[in-house]
């Protein structure tokens, strides 16, 4: 067998690596090259303009406005999603305190778990359409409920003060389910006797979460953080489908700017590539930062 392993490994590895190289790496590299041209996308003609696109970008108020919105998402979405995810996962896995002895979830855990995971099964476009109807100012579920209680009914997606937050809320909503399952699985790996000991000591649920669960889940939380940070720097599909960046650019994001510049209202592919390159570096820096600042000692159970 020893002699047969290289052909085998090569047969398995070369095709995916080639595909990855052609369809992932080469477009990335190409984006760098295109970002230094004034390519307009519908002919093969393009002049090199050096760093001009990046200089324009530096003074482009629309791009800065979009980056600002992504920055807010970056600050809010991971915190909210991980917070809610941890809370729900805790309740589902060790929230139950009544009845049988030992560590169990609240009543109806299986049902909740399914319900939370539901948004994960839907495609993002469906989620956006669904919520667009929920936020409908006159016939929507949300305003219907508010009216039933005699509360004022805002226009949600039609108001620059609320539109962005409405999209952000949907972003959190659609992500939480996945992290409930992820954290739940990680919690299942924590030895039960630790919790039993904590319970015997009379710790509250909050203390248990803060002092025991989170430190033991740290690796998973860190991964979640990176995923969510990357998602927060994107947000393109939800925004495009729900508000298309409006009203008055109040919910614009970098991804949408890039799309509009290339495919939407203009055909400036060179400039759009420059926006893409900036996005790549922003995402990379955020991921690296998240990894660096979150580094802690790994705990291994024996």
């Amino acid at each position: 067998m020893r002699h047969g392993k290289y052909p085998l490994i090569i047969t398995f590895l070369v095709p995916p690596l080639l595909l990855y190289g052609i369809f992932v790496l080469s477009p990335y590299l190409q984006a760098f090259q295109i970002s230094t041209t004034n390519w307009l996308g519908y002919s093969a003609h393009a002049d090199s303009v050096g760093m001009a696109n990046f200089r324009t970008l530096w003074h482009d108020g629309q791009v800065w406005n979009a980056i600002k919105n992504n920055a807010v998402m970056l600050a809010v979405v991971p915190v909210l999603t991980i917070g809610l995810g941890l809370f729900f996962a805790t309740m589902l896995n060790m929230g139950g305190r009544k009845g049988r002895a030992g560590v169990t979830g609240v009543r109806g855990t299986a049902f909740y778990r399914m319900v939370y995971f539901f948004p994960q099964v839907l495609s993002v476009v469906i989620i956006a359409l669904l919520w667009r109807e929920v936020y409908h100012p006159n016939n929507g579920l949300l305003n219907g409920a508010l009216r039933a209680f005699g509360l004022p009914a805002p226009t949600w997606l039609g108001d620059p003060r609320t539109a962005f937050w409405c999209v952000l809320a949907v972003m959190v909503w659609s992500n939480v389910g996945f992290y409930v399952v992820l954290f739940g699985a990680a919690m299942a790996a924590i030895p039960r006797d630790i919790y039993e000991a904590v319970m015997l000591d009379g710790a509250s649920r909050w203390t248990t979460l803060r002092r025991i669960t989170v430190p033991l889940l740290w690796d998973t939380v860190q991964v979640a953080w990176i995923y969510l940070a990357i998602a927060a720097l994107d947000g393109f599909i939800l925004v495009q489908q729900m508000t298309n960046g409006g009203p008055n650019f109040s919910s614009d994001v970098i991804g949408l700017r890039m799309y509009e510049t290339a495919f939407g209202s203009e055909t400036k592919f060179g400039y759009a590539s420059a926006i893409g390159v900036v996005m790549l570096f922003l995402t990379l820096s955020v991921a690296v930062l998240a990894l660096r600042t979150g580094r802690r000692d790994r705990i291994e159970y024996l």
Partner: protein
């Protein structure tokens, strides 16, 4: 072999693959340029074949699958095939014209006919400035297919050629003829004994009456508020004359802050101030607002003549929608009340690098034949740019009011094209300004400032090609 070793070898394999990827980089912009004329289809020109179509050359047609569907195009293709039985026609329809065709334009192998329309429309400024569109002048001078003694040019409605012209070259065939105006339900107005108002003061008085009756006077596409820029600019043009539109199209300094635009913005601000707009409108998209209007929740809406077709499924029987021109500001208006914005829409192009340019133009000649145009009007109840093709065709109610309005408007009709020249200016900048204005967050002065700022940003952007029109 342990895990570490596998990882190390994998990394090595990855390094080997990288140069291959590097070689591929640069391909996206490197195709097509030097292919030249080789491989294009040319036939011999004759009286029967004025455009020189090669009779067995294949023809590829890409249709935007939107409000008009694709069946009308299949009918046109059948007519082409009747004339050239040996030609093989490849038909496809998509809603994403830009994403589907962009690589083919770059590669230099675009289809022969493209219906560049819809939300996925390719920005014409970009297409035209890259010489990606064939000059259709030859088509205009070719004889009409079924109107003997007339050139194609002479069969078209006025304004049809101008809209598709860039720097004097006719590049885009806009096939439909669209009127833009204010719509109301004849049924609702007869029941309530309301009269459509011809002056702005009367319009405001009528709005008051409508509101008192418990109906919102207005609604609009809150998520695409540019729909409201249409009646506002129309009001200004009727007040100040067609030069108002020309200044805007030519990006003249302070074109948006002309006296006429100020008067129009001040007038329209009244419906915002007096809360004559349906609650929640800023949160509705075009379909949602049009549906609320069809349900009788609002009396007026601004739209083009595609409205009837778009709302066909939800319009109650007997609703009888009617188009009307914008009310006059006063007796000092340069254009009469009847003047309405009529323009050719639904753009078709033949890419300049298409294999069968002559065939593409011949396909347009089929579309512009009396038979082709009548078939289109019957199938999708929309007018075409071919004059006199509604004779003998039974039109739905709304479309018949469009025909009447266009006739009454006659030579007073007007249009603007800045939205074709600079898609971003209307779709993003004026759109956002309208959203703020019609939801009451900005004053008329702030609204015009925002539009002007948008126009200035386009004017100052040296990467955008500028076009001027003289008429």
């Amino acid at each position: 072999m342990n895990r570490r070793e596998i990882l190390r070898r994998t990394a090595a394999a990855g390094l080997l693959a990288t140069p291959a990827a590097g070689l591929l980089a640069g391909c996206a912009t490197s195709g097509g340029d030097d292919k030249g004329d080789a491989g294009t289809y040319k036939g011999t020109k004759s009286e029967q074949n004025p455009l020189g179509v090669k009779e067995d050359a294949p023809l590829e047609v890409v249709i935007f699958n939107g409000g008009f569907g694709e069946d009308y195009a299949k009918a046109h293709e059948a007519m082409y095939k009747e004339k050239y039985p040996k030609a093989e026609i490849k038909h496809s329809a998509t809603q994403e014209i830009n994403k589907t065709l962009q690589p083919r334009f770059v590669d230099g192998t675009p289809p022969d006919v493209v219906n560049n329309s819809g939300a996925g429309q390719i920005d014409f400024n970009g297409l035209v400035s890259q010489n990606a569109v064939a000059d259709l002048n030859e088509l205009l001078d070719a004889p009409s297919l079924d109107q003997p003694g007339k050139k194609v040019r002479e069969t078209l409605l006025p304004g049809a050629v101008e809209v598709g012209s860039y720097d004097g070259k006719f590049l885009v065939l806009n096939y439909t003829y669209t009127a833009y105006g204010i719509w109301y339900s004849t049924k609702l107005f007869t029941e309530r004994n309301w009269q459509y108002a011809k002056t702005w003061d009367e319009h405001i008085a009528l709005c008051k009456q409508i509101k008192a009756a418990g109906i919102a006077p207005w609604t609009y596409a809150g998520k695409h508020p540019r729909y409201m820029s249409w009646p506002l600019i129309a009001t200004a043009i009727k007040f100040g004359g067609p030069s108002v539109a020309m200044a805007i199209d030519n990006l003249e300094p302070n074109a948006w802050k002309s006296d006429a635009m100020k008067a129009a913005a001040d007038a329209w601000y009244q419906i915002v101030k007096d809360k004559y707009i349906l609650d929640g409108t800023p949160g509705l998209d075009h379909i949602q607002s049009q549906t609320a209007w069809c349900q009788g929740k609002a009396a007026f809406i601004s739209c083009g003549s595609w409205l009837e077709n778009e709302q066909a499924k939800v319009t109650p029987a007997g609703f009888n929608m009617t188009i009307a021109p914008t009310p006059s500001l006063g007796s000092g208006d340069k254009l009469p009340f009847e003047a309405i914005r009529g323009t050719a829409g639904e753009p078709f192009i033949v890419p300049s690098k298409a294999k069968n340019v002559a065939g593409g133009m011949e396909y347009f000649r089929v579309m512009l034949s009396k038979k082709g145009a009548q078939d289109f009007t019957k199938k999708v109840s929309s007018l075409t740019v071919v004059a006199g093709t509604t004779e003998g065709v039974e039109l739905p109610f709304g479309l018949s009011t469009v025909v009447k309005a266009l006739e009454a408007s006659g030579s007073n009709g007007f249009n603007w094209v800045y939205n074709n020249y600079y898609r971003k200016l209307e779709r993003e900048l004026v759109d956002a300004a309208c959203g703020e204005f019609f939801s009451g967050r900005s004053t008329p002065a702030e609204f015009l400032d925002a539009c002007q700022k948008g126009a200035d940003s386009i004017a100052q952007d040296s990467s955008i090609k500028k076009y001027k029109r003289a008429a």
